[in-house]
Amino acid sequence: MSIWEYANPKKFITTTERVLPVLWAAAALCIGGGLIWGFFFTGDEVRQGSTVKIIYLHVPAAMLAINTWVMMLVTSLVWLVRRHHVSALAARAAAPVGLVMTLIALATGAIWGQPMWGTWWVWDPRLTSFLILFLFYLGYIALWEAIDDPDTAADLTSFLCLVGSVFALLSRYAVNFWNQGLHQGASIMRAEAVIGTDTQEKVSNIFFYPLLLCIIGFVLLFVALVFYRTGTEIRARRIKALMARERVEA
């Protein structure tokens, strides 16, 4: 049994819709459980006080913001090579999810940094990279919306995703280079080190397990949302096709 069987729209829908209720429930449990555990049952961190609790939202959202784009890149390539509509529609469905995840990462990142930096926004490399990623998502979604013919739209947005991925990666390096040239005050560097490396930082076990639960929950939510939304896109496409058929037969 190969994954390509699910490239068939009908099979995709019937299979995913059987799994969806479980996915939604599992996502809710993991996110709810993880957040409750982290919020109520873990202590504060030495330097950051209770703001460390924001980690349970910021890290999963940031991870998904990036991985959604990676998924879109893969599905775009699959569309370009194998012309499976489900793949193209999955990319379209995932984009708004990635957009919201990026927004959450930005909001939590900025809010988390505010007590350290004293301002609501700082052009630190990480936040700036996510802001640029946000713009990439916006452009991608806008292009889908602008083009009538579904196949042309799928092709053009796939190319945008491809080229965009290269430049998004370039931006990451450019932005890191761009900010290190500034004279950074000690406070900024500390906050930078905290937020910039929170995923690699040796997070003590107390924080790690609730965080892991939240990450799992976010991933489950992502899968559920993409399955559900792709089902919506498949049906929307079918509606267009049926309406065209109606007009021809009339």
């Binding site: 957040l35 919020f39 109520f40 504060d44 950051q48 006080g49 209770s50 703001t51 609790k53 924001i54 939202l57 910021h58 959202a61 708004p96 999810v97 919201v100 927004l103 959450i104 909001a107 939590t108 809010i111 988390w112 505010q114 007590p115 939510l221 949302l225 559900y228 939304r229 089902g231 919506t232 049906r235 929307a236 079918r238 509606i239 049926l242 309406m243 058929r245 109606e246 037969e249």
Partner: protein, 52 residues
């Protein structure tokens, strides 16, 4: 019940509220559109395929 968030109370709460609101909005909007499209499709399928 509420942990002592110290001086960062507003910070943490606003981060949580903002994120949860965004997540809920995302799910709700996806489901509302999904329901609408599914109903549309059932309706049009009945119309086009029904007269066969």
């Amino acid at each position: 019940m509420m942990p002592d968030l110290g001086k960062y109370g507003d910070t943490v709460m606003s981060a949580y509220v903002a994120s949860i609101v965004l997540l809920v909005l995302l799910v709700v909007i996806s489901v509302i559109r999904g329901r609408h499209v599914r109903a549309e499709m059932d309706k049009i399928e009945k119309r086009v395929m029904g007269n066969g």
